[in-house]
Subunit: 219 residues, 2 copies
Amino acid sequence: MIRAIVFANGVMDGWPVGLTLSADRDLIIAADGGLAHCRRWEVTPHVVVGDMDSIAPGELTALEKTATEIIRHPARKDETDLELALKLAIDRGAEEIAVLGALGARWDMTFSNVLLLGSDFLSRTTVRLLDGVHELCCLQGSRQIRLHGRPGDLVSLLPISGNATGVSLKGLAYPLTDASLPFGTSHGVSNVFTGETASVTLKEGMLLISITRMAGKPF
Amino acid sequence: MIRAIVFANGVMDGWPVGLTLSADRDLIIAADGGLAHCRRWEVTPHVVVGDMDSIAPGELTALEKTATEIIRHPARKDETDLELALKLAIDRGAEEIAVLGALGARWDMTFSNVLLLGSDFLSRTTVRLLDGVHELCCLQGSRQIRLHGRPGDLVSLLPISGNATGVSLKGLAYPLTDASLPFGTSHGVSNVFTGETASVTLKEGMLLISITRMAGKPF
């Protein structure tokens, strides 16, 4: 299975807990300025994609002499650099995508990055946005997802496109069976892992799933 | 017109640019731990609402001796404290609501707070989430909203519940006329004020509107 690791251009305070990557096994993509995160973590991307407006010209020239592929888009484009990177990952056959550095800095970019998870072109792919302690993904109906955590980790379920119906939860402190979560209400916030796995089933709609790893975090 | 100012329990790095409030004119509500922000900014709320799990018992006892009204909900409730505060504001006749401290700290709470703007019970009220340089609001079709800013301020438009159709923009660098913005795409990100006012018209769907005040902010 091809896994893509995408470095976006937002905040990346720390390396996500439990994530290991290998240049042999994973397709590593830097979305424009996300290249700076690759530098910091000493990761060599296979591809850099974007309009290159967040990369210094000198750095780009240096990059052209390496094996890293550069895919340059015009500055006046309809997609953000992250959208371009995710489309590229899908085009190259990724069945699972982890995105680092997609949260923080600007609220509009953060929300856009999260809502992007609900795009049609990602409906059959598991895409996770990771920062140090958070994991965000989107479940589009009708599907089921298995979540991994530790007792006490928080799980919030937010309908992001109309109402979510046929919601069943297992392995969480507040289970649900074939329930409805109306859009705009906060009913699904702050559920809690009771063991190390949980499952979310959804018949119709779209759920943003947020996991907050609580070990050592005094929220 | 009754304006409500709600202090939520998220991050509040600074006082929102241009916001003035008066205890005579505004209905001031603290959503549970949002009371700490009131203390910091030396604002006396008219009402505190929530399950009081984020207020120290001693502080609550002291509060009971003041004119501040306390509305206590059970801890095991379906709504977040912010949702309770917004419902209270509407019940008390607020036609405009500004929310401070609704962003930051936990991603799930932040997204829940933002998605709350799309609730039915707020469909005819202008609710703005403010932090130092950001302003977020939600436009539900069919409606028009006038935005105030300065040339160079960023405006992003994100469909948050299905596609947004009949979108017309004036006063921005990339105008639109009766356009569609599909859910999940980043096409509406990073538009720019060309003057001091702009307008957004929406026929169907729901748009999250984010304004980022760029003066002095090197994004």
